[in-house]
Subunit: 180 residues, 3 copies
């Protein structure tokens, strides 16, 4: 299994759409989380997911893992390194989740903070809190640290894709090289 993570707005989902991912099933962790949470009447839209209590998030995570494992080996899991909630950064892949998964590669998609701010402004599909460059840097640093921790816990490799403005094709190629 390959896990692809990213800062919100860094372009992770776009890269995954553009990349040739034949032989892989792409699962979006957030979508699976939302489907479970919606079924349980905990939320009405995806942005409300970030407002959930940590304990609720954890229960949903456990159900999602069972769903993922049904798909077998050639899975790309599209997820967050951490989720920014009003009660702090919640690790997206805590050890009790990670140890259930057989992870081979960890990919983190990030971008320059000032480019991220622009992209988030121009994204009409999501209701977002405004972010400063400082708060984005804090989130990015925490994500990179979690990335290395996830690698130490699983033995999976660490790959960082810096998705620069106007260089989407380079990012797509970087991902595709990891899929062969």
């Amino acid at each position: 299994m390959i896990i692809v993570m990213g800062l919100p707005g860094a372009g992770k989902s776009t890269i995954l759409q553009k990349a040739s991912t034949t032989n892989y099933v792409i699962l979006n962790y957030g979508t699976l989380m939302f489907q479970v949470a919606e079924k349980q009447k905990l939320v009405k839209n995806r942005d409300e997911m970030r407002k959930l209590e940590p304990e609720q998030q954890k229960n949903i995570q456990r159900m999602v893992v069972d769903e993922i494992k049904k798909h077998g080996k050639n899975v790309i899991l599209d997820t967050h390194c951490s989720i920014k909630t009003p009660k702090g950064y919640l690790p997206g892949l805590p050890y009790y989740i990670l140890k259930e998964l057989d992870v081979e590669k960890l990919v983190y998609v990030t971008a320059e903070p000032h480019e991220l701010i622009e992209r988030r402004k121009n994204d009409p599909t999501r209701v977002r809190d405004p972010d400063t460059e400082e708060s984005i840097l804090e989130h990015d640093t925490i994500n990179r640290t979690l990335l290395a921790t996830y690698a130490a816990l699983t033995g999976a490799t660490i790959n960082i894709i810096i998705n620069r403005a106007g260089k989407l094709d380079d990012s797509v190629k970087q991902l595709e090289q990891l899929l062969t």
Copy 2:
């Protein structure tokens, strides 16, 4: 359980004293460590704690965990992310300790290095080694990395409070929001 950690001199204990912490028992890990070590005639004052051999520190840690668990659920644990010893940085919450505790939130109190140096100079209650801005930055970076690792291991949220000079009230409010 909420674990509040900090760089020495960053103001963690002051913030804990000023915050409304009704419904919580505040336990100071260092004090518990000292009480155990003193009882075992290993040290005479708190500053000698940092000179203990790693193996001695570990044995004391294990005894302190048993003490903490007696207090049940609504506990704020006041501790260090890592302890700077002559033989290196000792992680304050190694995995063999963490997995015994049910941690919901991790809070790290830090400060700008130059402000920290000033505060440490003006603290007459402790005998301290002089620190440079570079060595404080190294300690802070290691602490932030350990913080994220503790979160990945437990699933607890990560919260960073930067306690700025003259902004103690903001830091207190930031902590109080995590207690509700």
Copy 3:
């Protein structure tokens, strides 16, 4: 056991050769890895080690651990924090390896990126990919993060030796202080 890690070219092996390491057996993880891989006809020279598939690396790692454990307690393990492969950074000491070892101290030898580039150029014994200052910084940051993670997982202390140009003796002394 003491584990000494470093960025390639930072001078880790030189420091280990110059240091008084009486009472310790020094084991080179890379050499043990190479011996196992060569015996299995997977590689012909040491530089090919970095081109191995992650799964192959993992199998060799497990065999090497068994070899290390035969040497008992006073061991200095000379290894990498992570190995840079075409498929990403492979953690040198994933948790499934670390939990088999009784680690007391973790030492990381690093250097200023521009000094590292010079040293790598002047090292005729190895075939190396050219590295930029940016890619060295990325590797160094990942290594420092992994270092702290290894410490949190084992409870071992963290020690960072910055091996500066012309200051080899200082680095040697810093290591020797950890051996007493």
